[in-house]
């Protein structure tokens, strides 16, 4: 199963406080261990939210809001994607992870939806219906792209 493992942000990650050499080395070793165990699928740090943005959806409106964002605890500072046998295995690996921020840290593990997961819920009928809807959605979207006829 694939899991998303993400490190929640804190004041230090948001302030781009640099890790110490020892912390960098420890994290480097951990990442190496993940690769050598063959479970590493992806991983990266996220730049602080001051470099990011949010898009608000309200009806048809889209509004862009620049970072930084104040709810630090809810932000993501880094992530991995691992291929593991179970949630328990993922937890085992996370426990081996050096403290990712050096302070109070929270790492969240969330299994990723894979096609098999849709299982009983995603019946062949539902799949066929989705395909049909997708074709319909495509047609409608392409139709909407036709320019409105306006005299200029």
């Amino acid at each position: 199963m694939k899991v998303m493992v993400f490190v929640k942000a804190n004041a230090d990650t948001e302030a781009s406080v640099l890790p110490s050499e020892q912390e960098l080395r420890d994290m480097g070793n951990f990442n190496e261990a993940l690769v050598n165990a063959g479970i590493m699928r992806a991983g990266d740090g996220l730049k602080p939210s001051v470099n990011g943005a949010r898009v608000r959806f309200s009806g048809k409106k889209r509004t862009v809001i620049d970072g930084p964002f104040t709810e630090t605890k809810e932000l993501v500072a880094g992530y991995w994607i691992w291929e593991v046998a179970s949630l328990a295995e993922a937890i085992k690996w996370v426990k081996r992870c050096p403290n990712p921020t050096g302070e109070e840290s929270v790492i969240e593990i969330r299994p990723i939806f894979e096609p098999e997961d849709f299982g009983e819920a995603y019946t062949p009928e539902l799949r066929a219906k989705t395909e049909k809807l997708r074709a319909k959605a495509t047609k409608q979207i392409n139709k909407r792209k036709k320019a409105p006829k306006k005299k200029r």
């Binding site: 998303m4 640099l18 890790p19 110490s20 050499e21 960098l24 080395r25 994290m27 480097g28 070793n29 990442n31 190496e32 992806a42 991983g43 990266d44 740090g45 996220l46 730049k47 939210s49 470099n51 990011g52 943005a53 949010r54 898009v55 608000r56 959806f57 009806g59 889209r62 862009v64 809001i65 709810e71 605890k73 809810e74 993501v76 992530y79 949630l87 937890i91 996370v94 426990k95 403290n99 990712p100 109070e104 840290s105 929270v106 790492i107 969240e108 593990i109 969330r110 299994p111 990723i112 939806f113 995603y122 539902l126 989705t130 809807l133 997708r134 319909k136 959605a137 495509t138 979207i141």
Partner: protein, 137 residues
């Protein structure tokens, strides 16, 4: 430049309810459009937090907490894209179908990735700084 578009959870996604078929179809088409533009790297939907766990580091100890989590903004999905600029990432984010349906307001987040240079062994903090700058491109 790589960006992550983060879709937050809703009560429905946390309840494990399948999204409406129309939304599923629209999301699928959106990701196909990303692929056709050659910018899609990966996309992942997450199981509700009841299937997850958190590990909290505090005072040298690690504590495991099982889901579900009650926080107001949990994450439901990630889409990774490769684009030339932050403005391009935001433009693509604007084109995402409303993740909680047309009738529900929501926000999605666009965050830039450091890229692999900043993980792995590094000898000096100076180099870390350089990596941070180098990845501006």
């Amino acid at each position: 430049m790589r960006f992550m578009i983060i879709v937050k959870a809703s009560r429905d996604s946390e309840a494990g309810a399948m999204p409406e078929e129309a939304l599923l179809a629209a999301m699928a088409k959106y990701h196909e459009d990303l692929a056709k533009a050659g910018v899609l790297l990966d996309a992942n939907a997450l199981h509700p937090s009841s299937k997850g766990a958190r590990i909290r580091y505090s005072g040298g100890k690690r504590n495991v907490i099982d889901g579900p989590f009650a926080a107001t903004t949990l994450i439901a999905g990630f889409t990774f894209i490769q684009v030339k600029s932050k403005a391009e990432a935001i433009e693509w984010a604007k084109r995402m179908p409303a993740p909680h349906g047309e009738h529900n307001d929501c926000e999605i987040e666009v965050r830039q990735l450091f890229e692999l240079e900043d993980f792995g062994s590094s000898e000096a903090i100076e180099r870390f700084r350089e990596m941070g700058v180098a990845s501006e491109r």
